[in-house]
Amino acid sequence: MIKIGALSSFILLLLLWEAISLPGLLPSPLSTLRYIASLDPDLIALHTVITLYNSFAGFSLSMLLSLALGFLSHRNEFIRGFSMGICSIFNSTSALIWSLVLVSTIGILSPLPPILVASAVSLPQLLSATIAALDSVDKNLIEAVRSLGGSSANEYLDVIIPGSLPMIIAASRVALGLSLRISVVAEAFGSSGGIGYMIMRSYNLADAPGVLAWSLILIALVLALDRLLLMPVEERSSSWLK
């Protein structure tokens, strides 16, 4: 039933798109698909890889920072306050502001702005989830491990990490999708490649089918990544819950 519901939403959106395209406001779904088919596969692959690289690099950076700050916050009140502050500030700053600031300070030729924007936007999601996940670990289980002669390392390896993992992985699924969607904004403003760059390039050339075609490629990429990689990882990490 859930699958039918999900399929219905896709069909509804497709019908809406078709309806809007009838008076000529947008290229139709079919003409967009024809446009994609006419694109050089190597070109699609090249810009897809650039976008994936930008978003994965940005996500990895924010994941490393989140894990480091999250675990330190678990042990130190000052770092906890500092991390909360970072979350608040970064959460209040839009991707557009990060893109403009980073492109104007680092430069349009640098590959860094899309990576850093993806990282800045996913960091508060991951950091607050990591802190909450560590807080939610059952202290009774830590006491049980201690009573069995477990060391601090055992507490982390056997309780804290596995206990917080499902929540961190669920947040990572959201954060990676966000990194992918946000890195294209930075690519659009200041990059020489990537799906975002191609969308902006098509827009500047008044190539409406191009804008929609590259947007569709981005959506397909986000969906494929979610279904083929993130969902199985999330399910595996919480198999003991079922």
Binding site: E143, A144, S147, L148, G150, D158, P162, W240, L241
Partner: protein, 233 residues
């Protein structure tokens, strides 16, 4: 006189109010001691003090042997199978005698299939048995158990009580079993101490060695009647 393996002297402990007023007790090697008392009289707090898990109390605890604990909750790691949970202490101690640990599990009635399952997938009774097997696996000289039979269905409780008592006596493990239900302990313990309502003291002590079931019931009834007349219901 038998060797005293665990002794508490003048234990006083309070949180917002005084819970344990003055508790002294001793556990002899190989003995199974029951501690009963009304709800909220500080039985779990006393057990935690004996286990060394509670800080800031007055008095002294002397222990002459290794210790295993069975908590009131099962406290099994939900991401590990029952087998992994049972062998956890052995892993920490760097020991490999897993078969011995699994024998305890089998003696308590855990099936091979359940041993390979995650705690969520087995019954509450099986989880409780696994928690007891985990504590026994390290073959401690003393085992402290907090309400080990509470919340179990009647047949599980009866079989667990009997197999646990057999295991403890067979291995010569000294045990303290805390419960708020007298019938939990009637068939299992050698001696029983009864705590008063808080601020708690030891209200009565009863040696039940050599007594038949009926004698035990009558002796406990007498003790309880005396306590009710002294301290109220």
């Amino acid at each position: 006189m038998a060797e005293v393996i665990l002794e508490a002297l003048g234990i006083r402990k309070g949180f917002s109010e005084l819970v344990l007023a003055d508790i002294s007790l001793r556990l002899e090697r190989g003995e199974i001691l029951g501690i009963v008392g009304p709800n909220s009289c500080g039985k779990t707090t006393l057990l935690r003090i004996l286990a060394g898990l509670e800080g800031y109390y007055e008095g002294e605890v002397r222990r002459n042997g290794s210790l295993g604990i069975v908590f009131q909750e099962d406290r099994l790691l939900p991401w590990k199978t029952l087998m992994e949970n049972i062998c956890l202490g052995l892993k920490y101690a760097g020991r490999r005698d897993i078969e011995k640990a699994l024998n305890y599990a089998r003696r308590l009635g855990i099936s091979e299939e359940d041993l390979r399952s995650f705690p969520r997938r087995v019954s509450g009774g099986t989880r409780r048995k696994a928690a007891i097997a985990r504590a026994l696996a390290l073959e401690p000289e003393i085992i402290l158990m907090d309400e080990p039979f509470t919340g179990l269905d009647f047949s599980t409780m009866v079989t667990l009580r009997s197999s646990l008592a057999d295991l403890l006596r067979e291995r010569g493990i000294s045990a303290i079993i805390v419960s708020h239900q007298l019938e939990d302990l009637l068939t299992v313990v050698d001696r029983c101490v009864v705590m008063t309502p808080k601020p708690s003291k030891i209200g009565a002590e009863l040696n039940m060695r050599g007594m038949g079931l009926e004698e035990r019931i009558n002796a406990l009834k007498d003790v309880l009647m005396r306590m009710v007349s002294d301290h109220g219901p």
